[in-house]
Symmetry: C4
Subunit: 243 residues, 4 copies
């Protein structure tokens, strides 16, 4: 492992974990962020069940893509197997976030996909955010966290993980991902925000449908792809990731 790059990864993952709390996306210790160093296949992830005030960059546990701890004395997050499996199957992502944020979790508990009701949503997620099936009993009796990844991956056989950087795991809560840990946090923040607005929208218009394809295309492609024109071209000012 290239020492300097790994330390920088731990620092980014630590900061992203702290940002989760500052953004109000976690209660107690229920949430975790990881990041990956692709060349060496090393994942840095929050330790399991440690309070936020005791976290530090060095306490981010390092694991390899076989779920083995390669550095660190603490247990990695209990969700590590889910993260690692997603890294293996989503080659273009650099960070993953799992939270129990209120409204995204409420949709996951209600076992409903989150429709795209407006441009706030369409700017980040290209259409509805899917909800997985409820896990089957034989899956639960196997490796639970591994099977959580299986649930997500089965769902994404019909979705593109690059334009839909998040999912609701039924009865559980959201996972999001992105190019970096910070971008994955940003996607969790927007997901929670649009999940809350979507509930309010439904209370106002119970039969509400998602926005039409032409508007979805316009907004998503305003920020993503070759013809994007939102934001700054200069370095230091990102397109869909603040900071």
């Amino acid at each position: 492992m290239p020492e300097r790059e790994i330390r920088a990864l731990q620092e980014r993952v630590y900061r992203a974990n702290m940002a989760l709390r500052e953004l109000g996306l976690v209660v107690a210790t229920f949430g975790n962020v990881s990041g990956i160093h692709r060349p060496s296949g090393t994942v840095a992830i929050k330790p399991s069940g440690v309070v936020y005030d005791e976290l530090s960059p060095e306490s981010m546990v390092l694991v390899d893509l076989d779920n083995r701890v390669v550095e660190g004395t603490l247990n990695p997050s209990s969700d590590t197997r889910t993260h690692v499996r997603l890294y293996a199957r989503f080659p273009e992502i650099g960070g993953i976030v799992h939270t129990h944020s209120k409204y995204a979790t409420a949709w996951a508990q209600a076992r409903r996909a989150l429709p795209c009701f407006g441009t706030t949503h369409a700017d980040i997620f290209y259409g509805e955010v899917p909800c997985t099936a409820v896990m089957r009993d034989e899956q639960i009796s196997r490796d639970y966290e591994e099977e959580t990844a299986v649930q997500i991956l089965e769902t994404f056989e019909r979705w593109d993980y690059r334009s839909t950087p998040g999912v609701l795991v039924a009865c559980h809560g959201p996972f999001t991902w992105g190019n970096t840990p910070a971008q994955a946090v940003y996607h969790s923040q927007v997901l929670e925000y649009v999940a809350e607005m979507a509930l309010a929208s439904l209370l106002l218009t119970p039969e509400l449908g998602g926005i039409k394809k032409s508007l979805l295309d316009k907004h998503y492609l305003r920020k993503h792809g070759a013809d994007a024109y939102y934001g700054q071209k200069s370095p230091g000012a990102g397109r869909d990731e603040p900071g």
Copy 2:
């Protein structure tokens, strides 16, 4: 351009943008404030997609009424064409705000006009706040931000922009305006507040109708027009704008 007045405008627009965030009306970078210097036709507006902590008065981009950047190295807000078009058609306004604030956006997503259910609303908005039609496909394929202004202006053929200083753009979110950037922010703040209360009121009484004309007149005219008696006559204490 008269240098000193333009710098003062940038300062006011900068402060109004920061106030948006302090008031909890923006998530991430989703929101922008502009102001206009009427004599020279110069608009100062937030740059596109820059995080709030990196904003400064000087970073407020200057554009003319033909949407050309006249000063600044950053791209102006992607919504600039909407702002500029509104300034051209609403001659008495000095500031415009666009947000994705939660409850105003929920009403916009639900594609419903916001009824006037009480005096908090009536103090600022003289009756319901309209919701535009959903944009037609041929509009979306043209200049999207320009057409957002078209949607607003079509709506205001039947409304007075001076007594209804805001609108809900269907599937998108609210725009508000005012004499100054600060007053436009104030109108966004009140719009969000009454949008939240209106949803709660509807949950309590689903068939609720707006307040009657006599009460609306009384409250709106208590604060606006020749016979207004709310607030202070002395300078430094505004009528419907705090600070």
Copy 3:
């Protein structure tokens, strides 16, 4: 007017106004607190439309029971006539608060009395908090703020203002009162809190009725009257007023 007592009153009223904002009960300048010095019939009240950061004890306007300003260069709150009229008719109160707090206002806008669904409510309000009738057109065309008091007083012909220290003015918002300005603020705080919980309770059980009389009596009388046993008997620790 006894100078020292009046200054102390202004100080208390100023602090109570600032507490309103700290408790999140006001948006912008929408809210006011007054207090009365009974021996001289002098009321201290927030000036109209002044931002909170510019308030001071000295800026609390002094008016007499005929609504005449007896000291101060600022206009008193536009709601002053309502306050003064209530002081005249509710001889045992020392402070009055008016807010547009979110949930209490939502109930007022929905034109519904707030039922007593639990002990949090019953500890302060002895049964439901009534909602006035909507003001009649001939009242609106007269002195609006005076008639707001008339609406409240008509409602309290059938209620005891001492055990129900608050009211919802239809289409408008709540007024509360108490022995002191601070206690009136406390009653506004609890009213807002129980108004929010009551909406959530109704969403869970739409046909929910108020708590039974025996439980209401038990809780209210635990804190009020000769047999109260909640709190401390010693000075400095109040019964139903914190601080």
Copy 4:
């Protein structure tokens, strides 16, 4: 009483009471935490109706298991008899919390048990959190706080207090307990959080049922019992209690 241990208990109970407020679980003085020193049967509990800013470790009142004050000049919490009775009947607990937190109280007011809709809930509460029956009139006329404990204990004839560390008292609010005062606070925090999410979930899917037994078992037993694997084995990093 062993002096040093009792002082340490008061310190823990004081900190837990302050944490309640920091977590936003109390309005005004409506909430209390106690802790017990099992060897001597001494309970430390918040004094009644004292504002939070005036609390200190020494002001935590000491009572014995017969409800007699053994040290302290302030009255203990009016709910002391409820706490003491629960300590007597739940031998494995070390701390108790009572709050009027918004959403848990809304469920209590709606007189509904809180279903387990997801893993956030299942991690702490092994299935639904029960709601007591409404107190009978003859109970109310007896010792009210004693009878509150009776209501809870009748409910727990059919539940295990160790795997369901909390209850909703009908028309009143939640009580939670734990190994320590801090853990009992943690359980109140999670209860409030899942109560809010459960309401949102029901608004999305009104006919929603609880999660299936296999998933409940998996999540609860991931954190509790001999085969738990969440968190750290090392001291200083708890299993289901942060800090």
